[in-house]
Amino acid sequence: MSASRPRLAAALGWAAPLAAVLAALAAGAVFIAAIGESPLEIYALMFREAFGTGYGLGQTLFKTTPLLFTGLAVALAFRAGLFNIGVESQMYLGGFAAALVGAYAPLPGVLLLPATLLAAAVAGGAWGAIPGSLKARFGAHEVINTIMLNFIAISLVSWIGRGLFETASVRTRDIAAGAWLPRLDTLLPEFRGAPANFSLLLALVLAVLVGVLLFRTRLGYELRAVGMNASAAEAAGISIGRSQVLAMSLSGAIAGLGGVNFVLGYKHYFELEFTGGAGFIGIAVALLGRNHPFGVLLAALFFGGLSHGALVINQRVPRELVNVLQGLVILFAISAQAVAARLARRWA
């Protein structure tokens, strides 16, 4: 009996997000039923649209991609004990930097794409390093600082964009074709017409890298140690400040790279407000995925499917149902997690 208890606690840990998703769908069903539609029919419709056809799946994957980036970014910071609410603006600035380099840098073809990717990572990473350093140096709470930086980024971009944006628009000029990321349908014709692109592969590679970093390297071990018990980690000779700055910079860099899905893979320019809240959904993704790369992948797919599936139900149920579901999933997930943690402690 006692030997199975840790396993029971682990099972409980994974059951909590699942229960949260089911509870949110059940609450959503009440909304659907309240306006006189059949919840099962609506959910089936959404599922078929999101995963049933090549085109639908391609659209879902396109919407999954930024969430995979932001989810990984939030999860990495979480593992180091930091709550990065700034992924929204880290992604925003990453996309902006990529667009500037892609449109203006006089680089030869071979170098252009790597340079744009690097610009995205550096811009996002630098924006993440600010709250990381303020936390390490002054103990300033990263949550408030990242929220503030989200707003400052908006002002910063519109200030830089003043003389830059195409007249009467809110976008940069097109980036050079050499920096475009090809669509997946060039490889897999099944996805024809869907904007899913090679950013997804980049995100998948990053997911593996984050997993390796966190669970297979000394550095990852140190980050997790700081996240679990900072004073114990410090006693063991790990520099808390260094870990915090590093975690926030890496987290920001991943979020910044996420900007390329839209900028290099889809529209080929930067547009104001292109992130559309992907940074905040990323928090839900990390939460549901239990800050594990594989869990993050599943959760990103769930939210990606939800947001594409919403488009087909709009005739019958307002697609805003999906935003309601996103909020509910978060609230249920943290409640279930807290209850599960308490049960696990009681049984330990």
């Binding site: 306006i35 002054f138 503030m148 707003f151 999906v322 807290a338």
Partner: protein, 301 residues
């Protein structure tokens, strides 16, 4: 006259900030972080429009606004106090939920994804002839402005001079000690969050009443500015209100300077920069209540 008009504009912008910021001070002094301000304000604004639209009476609108805000705050309290889940994440979840819910209702009830039809605003009062003053007169006749002004000393008294406030603050600093003295920690924390909900919903009602309608996402980040003002004001309603005036003045100045050569974006970012400086300790140390953000678990003592 010109100056008075500018002062009136700055005050007008500060009103919703101040209401929400004072609410946040109460919630956080009890130990519950209130990032949910934005969502509470949004639901409050929709509540006002629904009530005013259904009855044509602005006072009914004000009541439904407060009810909507209380319901939203209650949800935050359930998740954070009863289930003891993470307070920051709960706030973000509530903000997402409110954004979705208000849009859902907008589409269902008013058949528009952007705005409601025009509704009646709150009437003006004429106390001691104040509302006939030039420029700032209309402002001083507004019941919510008067209420906001009255709330600054009232909320300060509630937190720092009343028995309730003393207990609430002790719970925000050290809930274990407070509980050992026989205080019911969850009850006080819930009450703190509900007071915050009522005040922040008034901020939403003010916005909706001023605009005579509900627009999608009409709070536009004001809840976060209010939260920032509360921090700059050091978790004190008087300080928070003063910070709101500062932020409101920056906003009014920015509107004035739009289209000129001066980078108005700098003024736009000013409240956030000031807050970051305050948090880093450059403008006096802003210290949060010790137990803010920490769920109270009676089993873990």
């Amino acid at each position: 006259m010109e100056v008075l008009l500018f002062v009136a504009a700055a005050l007008r912008i500060s009103v919703p900030y101040a209401l929400a910021a004072m609410g946040a001070a109460v919630s956080e002094r009890g130990g519950v972080i209130c990032i949910a301000l934005e969502g509470i304000m949004l639901n409050g604004a929709l509540g006002y429009v629904l009530g005013a639209h259904a009855t044509g009476n602005p006072w009914v609108g004000l009541s439904t606004a407060v009810l909507a805000g209380l319901a939203t705050a209650w949800l935050h309290a359930e998740v954070t106090v009863r289930f003891r889940a993470d307070q920051i994440t709960s706030g973000l979840g509530i903000n997402l939920l409110a954004a979705g819910l208000t849009r859902f209702v907008l589409v269902r009830v008013f058949h528009s994804s952007s705005n409601s039809p025009r509704v009646v605003g709150l009437p003006d009062w004429d106390l001691f002839g104040l509302s006939r003053l030039p420029a700032i007169g209309p402002l001083l006749g507004s019941p919510l402005v008067l209420l906001t002004a009255a709330c600054v000393p009232l909320v300060w008294w509630l937190l720092f001079r009343s028995v309730f406030g003393l207990r609430l603050r002790s719970i925000g600093e050290n809930p274990e000690a407070a509980a050992s003295l026989g205080l019911h920690v969850p009850r006080y924390r819930t009450q703190g969050v509900l007071i915050c909900g009522a005040l922040a919903s008034l901020a939403g009602a003010w916005l909706a009443s001023e605009q005579h309608s509900f627009n999608d996402g009409m709070t536009g980040g004001r809840g976060y500015i209010a939260l920032a003002a509360m921090i700059v004001g050091k978790w004190n309603p008087v300080g928070a209100a003063a910070a709101c005036l500062l932020f409101g003045t920056a906003d009014a100045l920015q509107i004035r300077l739009q289209g000129s050569a001066f980078p108005s974006e700098l003024l736009q970012a000013l409240p956030y920069l000031v807050t970051m400086l305050a948090l880093a300790g450059f403008i006096g140390r802003a210290v949060a209540p010790k137990a803010v953000g920490v769920p109270f678990d009676p089993d873990q003592r």
